[in-house]
Symmetry: D2
């Protein structure tokens, strides 16, 4: 049978919390909707706690569970390591996996520092020579409306890029009584809004424009410096928008369990709550970015608008199936932003899904990510965003932090990849 003769791709996933759940749905769904050149097999999920990992395997569709990722990357039946743990573990796991000859998909942000990202990129560079591939999980690149935007820009449909404006606004920290979690701990998370969500709009800017950043000026702000430790956290008073699921349990088995703190125990927030950035691309085009987890009423408002010399595109993830496109070459009388419902068979990834207007959701971007990753591996091509792409994002994040610490001084970004 043709189907059976496809080469198999053994997959191991490390971490099984929020990101692990989405990645699992992607691995389960990709082959149901897309023709893939290889057949992924969900071999094993890895977590710290044996019992919880076992339950996760059952629930998420992995054949087995394990607790020692080092052994898993040595398994012969595992070809790809999907890293869904907090950022402070990425470098170590990714380097080891690549070294062991395993393809790697690593969640964003790629790492917690440029140094780590550089090491990972070096490892990916060496691995590539041996046919081993690595990719960073900036999944919004695979939202059909955003992929369509990228294609329209690449085709010149907005002319030369003149300006980029983007925001990534959430509000789940708006309530000061929301508890501390690993995402508010610099050691674990690297940074706050900047790396968690700001990284996405930095990457999307690169993806959509086909350019890198030349320099930045940035401001970081922490609104609430101290929060109740998880066990001490009261029920939030302000109900609107306190997402419960991003909290303590998000480490996916890789988080220290911790002692139950006393009733009034408070902890320090060591990351930024918001990041404000002005920047320039290599072409000189100005960019303005904001990331905030304190923007009440905005739940997942990843917005990006790119103005070119002949048009513009505009997107908001809260209406994720829609791309707005302005064509400045049309007559003024009927000019305006066109609301493209990116659910037509002509749209990226859509031939696999439902009829027009029957929209996709958040998880579909992850399915498309798996599709592109598997196709890339089969073709022997490095899937984008590559570790070089991820390293660049890391450099931008670090430059923003540097600028923020030096009175917003303009900070140049120097990429020195070997190519």
């Amino acid at each position: 049978m043709a189907e059976r003769e496809k080469p198999r791709l053994g997959v191991a996933m490390i971490g099984h919390s929020f990101m692990g759940r989405v990645h699992s749905q992607a691995w389960r769904s990709a082959t149901r909707f897309f023709d893939l050149p290889m057949e992924p097999r969900m071999r094993v999920v890895v977590g710290r706690d044996a019992q919880r990992s076992k339950i996760a395997a059952q629930r998420l569709g992995w054949v087995e569970s394990a607790t020692d990722w080092r052994r898993v990357i040595e398994r012969k039946d595992v070809d790809l390591i999907d890293i869904c743990t907090p950022g402070d573990t990425h470098a170590e796991i990714a380097e080891a996996a690549l070294q062991a000859g395993k393809h790697v998909l690593v969640e964003k942000p790629m790492a917690n520092s440029v140094a780590e990202a550089q090491r990972m990129n070096d490892a990916a560079h060496r691995a590539r020579a041996r046919g081993v591939h690595a990719m960073v999980g900036f999944t919004y690149r695979r939202v059909p409306a955003l992929k369509l935007a990228q294609e329209l820009i690449a085709e010149g449909r907005i002319g030369e890029v003149r300006q980029v404006r983007a925001q990534y606004l959430q509000d789940w920290l708006g309530d000061e009584s929301a508890p501390l979690s690993w995402r508010l701990d610099k050691t674990r998370a690297g940074s706050g809004a900047l790396g968690d969500i700001g990284a996405h709009i930095v990457d999307l800017t690169c993806f959509l424009t086909g350019q890198r950043f030349a320099g930045v000026s940035g401001m970081l702000e922490t609104f609430v410096a101290e929060r109740p430790l998880a066990a001490a956290a009261p029920v939030p008073v302000a109900g609107g928008g306190i997402g419960g699921s991003r909290g303590g349990g998000l480490g996916g088995g890789f988080e220290a369990s911790g002692e139950a703190p006393g009733p009034a125990a408070m902890g320090q927030v060591t990351v930024d709550d918001a990041a404000l950035v002005t920047a320039r691309l290599i072409s000189g085009a100005p960019v303005i970015l904001e990331a905030s987890r304190f923007a009440w009423g905005r739940k997942n408002a990843l917005r990006i608008e790119i103005s070119g010399s002949r048009g513009a595109v505009s997107f908001d993830f809260e209406d994720m199936n829609v791309l707005h496109y302005y064509d400045a070459t049309q007559p003024g009388r009927t000019a305006g932003f066109t609301r493209i419902l990116a659910t037509e068979p002509e749209h990226p990834y859509l031939e696999a899904w439902w009829p027009p207007g029957h929209g996709l959701g958040y998880e579909h971007g992850f399915t498309h990510q798996v599709v592109d990753l598997v196709r890339g591996i089969a073709a022997g091509e490095d899937p984008r965003p590559s570790f070089e792409d991820g390293l660049h994002v890391q450099r931008v994040l670090e430059a923003i932090e540097h600028s923020s610490g030096t009175a917003q001084q303009w900070t140049e970004i120097h990429d020195q990849e070997r190519r």
Copy 2:
């Protein structure tokens, strides 16, 4: 292990085209995100063509395939029949399955006539006494924003229902060169826009208001009376909105293959392209409905707004994660429709999914349908929409057709279910 001790629920699905693909994703996903009291097993998919059915089984995740649904409903390891075929086959299959003691999930519209629906409902009534359950697949009831609307109305948050206005607008037939398909053939499909999409807003009106229809006045219209037969159909000239995937192949293995027609062969459209309805609920509340597959630019615009004595709710499927709610008891100064992004943990079905703002898509309603169905079966309760609910919708559709044929004469609807 607790998980293994759950009772199993063997599922067979008949038909594997558009609806079969969505139902399969629902069966595959439900247990991944929800705790179910029974463990569904995707035993067998049934189609006319052995080879295509085998491929479908592999692709969609069913253990086996078969071509004779009569044998399948006799299988001991099959507990539930999921009917995804065109409407003209529903009654026969559902009756036989219920008779054989199998639970039934039947896609909407329930049947092609009231007589068929009545027979099905009688069969369901008899089956219920033996602990066998039946449900109609009006899946939009399980869109979180619409379920939230239903709950708010049931809690009195808009007061007494005064008016219902609803539209279901698509445009995939707007191009007169789009080919004939079984959906345009009265024998197969029962009716056109009326039964295909109008049925949904009839059902949603009942669901949201908790009422049935008392009478209707209706107008049916066919804009394009003749269309190219599928093989003869040219590539559509007008690109915007011609959905390719609802066409000839949608019968899911139950469609006659047909001879390839000559180049200019045309066929008759025997169903309505649009339905316009005014109606009243049992309470006397006026209802206005429109279904059209010719509304250029509207891809899947299922819109419903209900005005009550103290507020209103409003919904549009093209922005499916949002419910708009107006509370008339608030002070005028800050009154307005509130855009509720129905993606919070407090919202129906959402505790199982992603953080706020990370929206769901079309297929999730089907997953929730499976969840409610399995829970209902396990609890020995009849899941809604029941066959009585489906029969009522069928009566409304028939009354609309009758009114349309008699100068829009007011046509009363009489439900005479045994209860």
Copy 3:
């Protein structure tokens, strides 16, 4: 001076309440922004009460006030009578004015019955032969975005008209404690939502499609049959949306003052609160209409969408500077409704106003109405909407009432104008 040599057009306005205030602003503004072939002079405003009329003249910019409209229409320095009184007075005033050789602008609805409208149209027909012109104030025809829609349709930009769907939704009667006013009295107002706001969408349908109605089926509904008399009315409990200014004082001096009723005095509502209509145009195209003053949260939601064979236009007065246009001939990949901000110099009436994006408001339609009226008179052409247009609308309204009284029976509309 060229400006001084322009022929003057003496204007008298009868009624000085809500409509009188808007019309006055239009007369004051038209010459400030548009080059008119005649110079309107605001000679006199007429009301029942001498003192209130005098204050109105001062406030609204009329040279004088008067209380006897019969004398005013005989004045030599008055060339045009602008009728802003309740509907039951329109026929008498308009006939007399036309008879006296005065041009007439009459607020909508033209009259309270077909018989009255017919008499008015006959009078206009006779007057026309003597160079005297008459126009009905369906002012929404002069909203730039709607005029643009009309032009696009006339140019074939949406192909043949297939369907019309329109709503006119308000909520100022949603609160059952809102008091009675002349607008709820059939004798004064003719009808309720039907004539007050339904008339607008009937007229707009004719305007936009260039067609008349062939027949209708209609349902009228009164939700609240009894209301407090004005003086007895308590402060509304539900704050959102109870417009205070459409109430008792709206007669503009033509309303009976009345005795102060006792504290619990209630009065009968003798008009409809909502009208639901299905209809067909002369071409056979189906039309669906709803008018309601009970649609909580909708303040002035006049919405109309027209689907043609090659595209569609869509409008909502709550976003009055925007027209949405769908061009079905564009490729599906970038197809979608284009949001045209109708504030460009290329747009109707806009050359007179502000730069793009600096939107217009409600009153501007009235200014444009004056502009078109004066230009029509100067050119010796009958401005549209003519009394024939208004008579047709009246026939549609009457047919809807007739249908509503006869079980929604299909009711044909026969126009028999002399032409």
Copy 4:
């Protein structure tokens, strides 16, 4: 008569182009809709060219015209000078007028430099002691939805201000063939997008938060450095969005007429096309601002969103009658941004206008400005925005320019007003 006994306020307007036209409509309309404590008289309009000024007087409703503003400010029957000329003339006229004991309304930006603004403020300070008042025309403060926002914030309805994000986007310079105008000449206009539209969002930030700016980091960009001189300008190729009316003639009689340039004559653009700013308020709250006249498809998109500790408000001038308000204290289940149509009688300025939903337009803000100015003068209170407010804006603009010239270095703002 009470009306006649009101003190009169003789008004002279200098400049009669775009701004002069709007201001004239405001002076004409204010008394028609609002009860004012003084009666404004539109005495004289001043322009350079006698003939054009005479026509302007006639057209715009001023009794007389004049060409020498110095004489006009000496007139006894003139009490207030309304300055609508380009920014380079503001200081001289305003100082002289205040010195002459005349109230002053000056269009924004107040001046072309801090030095000028300081002189003007000193003059206003001296004048105030003599009962003479001065105001800057930041008219967007008087848009009802924005005034409502200010009131809600002042009442604590969003808690403490945490962040401000604002954009002012237009596209009328997007076409590189659009001609040079005085607005692109630093000598006349002071700056480009920064002062023209950026000034508005700087002022609105102060207005809405009740705070001043503490410091800024800014980037200025000029996309098109050279443009055709007006007479040489070809008809724009890209039609969408090239506003014709802001061009050469906008000086309102105060612009040098110039020689007709040769066919290929080009001139230098000496101002910025876009400004990107990060800033902090006195409280430390971060602010992010962008002004651009190159944002294709955005016609007058003045957008501002303020996130507080308990809620947020959001506004877009392209939908100017709407304020979006998020109340974070409401339960999450029904939380969301509420779309407040700010057209209720309870809303600022609305009691004077039309029923709910009958929206206002751009010019109404100017009418409200006149109303507040006249009321302030009559009450002997200094109307806001005062010259101190305007001076602060000027300081912010200058600091942005300074930062832009010094690698975006953080630049503090020091207000040293005498109080």
